[in-house]
């Protein structure tokens, strides 16, 4: 007669675990990694690898030093590493991702108590840290191989930074004055922006693949539609209304705003980060709209052409407050409260 194991119900649990959720995010990000190699040569892969390895290593070392059980197994450091690398231009020196990873993992994530307790998104904070500290390196946008005019030989896939041609991004055209804004359509078509053959960070160029990854995450139930949809719709509506310099139509102004820069990557992969987004349904909608408003206003009024990372970064601080104010009404709760009053 064997001993029976006694515990409280439920006796079955779902197959989800923290690491399986993170693994789903990695799967959704993998097309971006592959195309970044296509667009920006194998150097992209090197930067991603350095970033991932250093993120995991810093987390492991921190746990070792602080004598706490290692949390590397939940794969969240890998996701942070990939996201940080996808937010860097391909031309950065190889030591830059290491500094970013150190800041993201040690200062932003682990000092606040590890996974689930960080106030801001580690990858995003790492990017902003690098952006304000090394802004010259961080804004040296490379053009994708096909766009640079050089022949697409296999050799250039393995090439060093010297082969890479840099140039302006669509957003920097939008930022400029009247005369320049019409130049944008000569350099980049809207379908260029959608497919990803434009200059920019490693992972943010191809809106198409980011949306595909987002659809995968939605199907797997990793994220809900609320934050990305509210975020993107807000940006779309506001940019349609806002007055802009003459040269292009309101619709194409909106389209360039949507498909270029970090908006898609930010809305689908950054703003939906679990620890730094509200968990209540209403709160997620408010958070998405807030991110959208801040993004447009920073892009429109601010000094930088890019506003997504700052917008999400700022909204991260309001998450706790939004959660508190948007607690859902319990099932059958409405009538009861009316009666009580």
């Amino acid at each position: 007669m064997s001993k029976l194991f006694v515990s409280s119900s439920p006796h079955i649990k779902s197959d989800h675990s923290t690491s399986s959720v993170m693994f789903d995010v990695i799967i959704a990000l993998s097309p971006l990694i592959i195309t970044s190699v296509f667009f920006f040569s194998f150097r992209a892969l090197i930067i991603i690898a350095i970033s991932v390895v250093s993120c995991v290593l810093f987390e492991y070392l921190y746990c070792l030093l602080m004598k706490i059980p290692s949390s590397v197994g939940d794969l969240s450091a890998v996701v942070t590493g990939i996201l940080l690398a996808l937010n860097l231009p391909v031309t950065v020196p190889v030591w830059l991702p290491i500094i970013g990873a150190a800041f993201a993992i040690i200062v932003v994530k682990m000092l606040f108590g590890g996974i689930g307790k960080n106030v801001v998104n580690p990858a995003l904070a790492g990017r902003i840290f690098l952006f304000v500290s090394f802004s010259k390196m961080m804004t040296n946008w490379a053009l994708p191989i096909g766009k640079s005019g050089s022949n697409t030989s296999l050799m250039s896939l393995f090439g060093s930074t010297s082969d890479i041609v840099t140039g302006a991004t669509p957003l920097s055209f939008l930022k400029n004055a009247d005369g320049q804004i019409s130049m944008i359509s000569n350099n980049f078509s809207i379908s260029d922006c959608f497919v990803g053959t434009i200059g920019g960070c490693l992972g943010e160029t191809s809106a198409l693949l980011i949306i595909l990854g987002g659809i995968y995450l939605l199907i797997r139930g990793v994220i809900t539609w609320r934050i990305p949809v509210c975020y993107i719709t807000t940006v779309a509506l506001i940019t349609l209304i806002l007055p802009h310099a003459t040269g292009i139509s309101a619709f194409s102004y909106m389209a360039y705003n949507l498909f270029s820069g970090g908006l898609m990557l930010g809305a689908i992969f950054m703003a939906t980060d679990y620890s730094t987004s509200p968990i209540t349904p209403k709160g997620q909608i408010i958070y998405g709209i807030g991110c959208g408003l801040l993004t447009v206003f920073i892009r429109y009024f601010g000094g930088y052409p890019e506003g997504v990372s700052f917008a999400i970064f700022l909204m991260n601080f309001f998450v706790w407050f939004i959660d508190k104010k948007t607690m859902p009404k319990k099932f059958g709760g409405v009538k009861h409260e009316e009666e009580a009053i």
Binding site: H16, D74, G333
Partner: protein, 628 residues
């Protein structure tokens, strides 16, 4: 045993046909598409050619031809299908779950490749016909139009169709279930809920009767409410159906002997709830001598006053058999004249359990009669039977019985999700009414009864039989024969399990369903009223995960059927701030366990909710005491 051989034979045929299909697919795959552009091309060649195109696509130099692209896309899908086929073929040689996955893989692959082949067929046909019109030398007649299509396509259409039908038969895909799923699309439903693996292996097997044991055990507390006092002494002889314990208290229900024999002792004994309770032991003489109260039969219940029926139900010791075991006569008493809708809960949303399903299939007439009696007693205007879409044959059986009796009650088809059988969720799904927080279903004019309870009421009123047996699902990998048994109340769990081939590998024994049932510490305790299932879980089914930090994923918020925020309640409960827990609605928790089930960090959320419920109750009691 016979079925297993049939399944094995089926599997062998399927494996052979998949292998042939794979072989033939390569014939069609490599057969050249002559004549259509003047050069010899095969789909395989097209594939390689087009991969080059994709690479240059980013340079936007090559304009695509539509047919090329279509064939390319189809061949790409076919390639994926072959890979799935091949992997499924590998899996099908494995054991257990692997074979199931293999079947699902073969099903998906054959379906999509069948569609691809049919499209390919039409593409080729179209090309050939247009070449015939252009006056090609090769396509001289209509006969040639069909002949010039690669033979592999014909063979594969037939083969994949055959494989598709074969897998469909094995997987028992129920088309009525799919049609019911389409029907409920626009219906009322509650927010949240989960879709666990249902494992309802027992739903195909008839309910078997289990012989009572030599010694039967009757705990004096088998329901919510006051404990009963024994009416018999040690040494008394009792008959089957004789009342052996009762209580004067307002909320209580009598207990009956389910066998005839002699009382041998009255002592404390293991109770399924987890404590030791005073119990009556009866030695079975295996004669089943009926008590004289069992002999009066009532022909027409409509002659009886509602109060009389309620007293019959009281005397028969009927309690809610869904698991809560609330005495039914009190529920009927309070629902009388206040209820306009009677709801019968046939959802059975708990995984593994299939007893309600089997009872609806096997005793639909008794069920309908029972519902009519209850509706007559509480003067309900309408009666609905809620059944989930995963039980299409039960829906059919109950509908048939309803039309036979020309009754006005209706079957409501429900979404298959847990906790569809929760009282408040069921009322929302069937009537659209919302039970206010802290109120009872009666406050919105609804009354919910279980399938089992209705049949017990029928037996009590029509046959004067008290509640003596209940149907128990025995399932899990710890028993050899998973089966529904009609068990006399009082039979030790040990004997029920031994009848099914209980193995020592069982690590966890659960009374009830896996989501809300209680884990047992002893197999000596008896089956009581409200025992709906006995699940023997071995290591492969038990979740032994350690909890890690909350990642704030919000899944618990999305699945909570009561629209609470379990993760925040856990935070406050951890801080012992129970006032805040109360504000967040912890008292409304129905303890369905969805939050704990779905949590990726494996946090014991439901335990925190239970803790805060107890603590809030204590606080309220203390506050009242202070006022006095």
């Amino acid at each position: 045993m016979k079925r297993r051989i049939v399944v094995k034979k089926n599997l062998l045929i399927l494996q052979i046909s998949v292998a042939i299909s794979l072989l033939f697919s390569f014939i069609s795959f490599l057969s050249p598409v002559k004549e259509y552009t003047g050069q010899v091309k095969s789909p395989a060649f097209l594939l390689i050619f087009n991969l080059g195109k994709i690479f240059s696509y980013f340079e936007q130099q090559i304009v695509f031809s539509v047919i090329d692209d279509l064939i390319f896309a189809l061949v790409l899908i076919l390639l994926i299908c072959y890979i799935v086929y091949f992997m499924s073929l590998f899996l099908s040689f494995g054991k257990g779950d692997n074979v199931d996955y293999a079947y699902k893989g073969i099903f998906a692959a054959s379906l999509s490749s069948l569609i691809c082949y049919i499209i390919l067929f039409f593409v080729y046909l179209n090309i050939n016909i247009s070449m015939l019109r252009l006056g090609s030398r090769v396509m001289s007649s209509y006969y040639n139009v069909f002949l010039k299509i690669p033979i592999g396509i014909y063979v594969n259409i037939l083969l994949t169709a055959y494989i598709l039908v074969k897998t469909l038969v094995y997987l028992r895909v129920d088309f009525t279930e799919i049609s019911y799923n389409l029907q409920i699309f626009m219906q009322n439903h509650f927010k949240g809920g989960i879709h666990p693996d249902y494992h309802k292996n027992t739903k195909f097997r008839r309910i078997k009767n289990l012989n009572p044991s030599d010694v039967m055990i009757y705990p004096l507390s088998q329901h919510i409410g006051a404990m009963c006092e024994p009416l018999v002494k040690v040494g008394d002889t009792v008959k089957m159906g004789q009342k052996i314990a009762d209580s004067e208290a307002a909320i209580s229900s009598p207990i009956h002997a389910t066998v005839s024999g002699k009382v041998i002792k009255i002592d404390d004994w293991d109770h399924p709830i987890g404590n030791r309770v005073k119990s009556i032991f009866i030695e079975n003489d295996h004669k089943d001598t009926p008590d004289k109260s069992l002999s009066n039969k009532i022909d027409d219940y409509k002659e009886l006053e509602p109060e009389e029926i309620i007293s019959i139900v009281h005397e028969a010791g009927i309690v809610g058999l869904g698991g809560a075991t609330f005495p039914s006569h009190i529920k009927m008493q309070s629902a009388m004249n206040k209820t306009d809708i009677l709801i019968i809960n046939g959802a059975e949303c708990e995984p593994y359990l299939s007893r309600d399903h089997r009872m609806m299939l096997e005793n639909p007439d008794e069920l309908i009669e029972g519902i009519k009696i209850i509706a007559h007693t509480i003067k309900a205007k309408k009666a609905y039977i809620g059944i989930e879409t995963n039980k299409p044959n039960a829906i059919k059986a109950v509908n048939k019985a309803i039309s036979k009796y020309k009754s006005k009650m209706k079957v409501k088809v429900l979404h298959t999700k847990y906790p569809q059988g929760g009282e408040k969720q069921l009322i929302k799904a069937i009537t659209g009414r919302v039970v206010p927080s802290g109120k009872l279903p009666i406050d919105v004019g609804c009354c919910v009864f279980n399938i089992d309870t209705c049949i017990a009421v029928y037996n009590a009123v029509k046959n004067s039989t008290p509640l003596m047996s209940c149907v128990v699902t025995v399932a899990g990998s710890g028993v050899k024969n998973e089966q529904n048994y009609n068990v006399r109340i009082g039979t030790p769990i040990k004997d029920v399990l031994n009848a099914c081939g209980y193995s020592d590998k069982t690590k966890k024994l659960i009374m009830g369903g896996p989501m809300m049932g209680t884990a047992q510490y002893s197999i000596e305790s008896p089956v009581i009223k409200g025992t709906s299932g006995l699940l023997c879980f071995t290591e492969q089914e038990i979740a032994f995960d350690e909890d890690v930090a909350c990642i704030r994923c919000g899944k618990c918020v999305n699945v909570c059927p009561m629209n609470l925020v379990p993760s925040y309640i856990r935070l406050y409960a951890g801080e012992k701030n129970f006032e805040e827990c109360k504000k967040l609605g912890a008292m409304d928790c129905i303890e369905c366990g969805c939050c704990s089930y779905i949590c990726p960090a494996k946090l014991p959320l439901i335990q925190y909710l239970r803790l805060s419920k107890v603590k809030i109750k204590n606080l309220e009691v203390r506050a009242k005491g202070g006022n006095n």
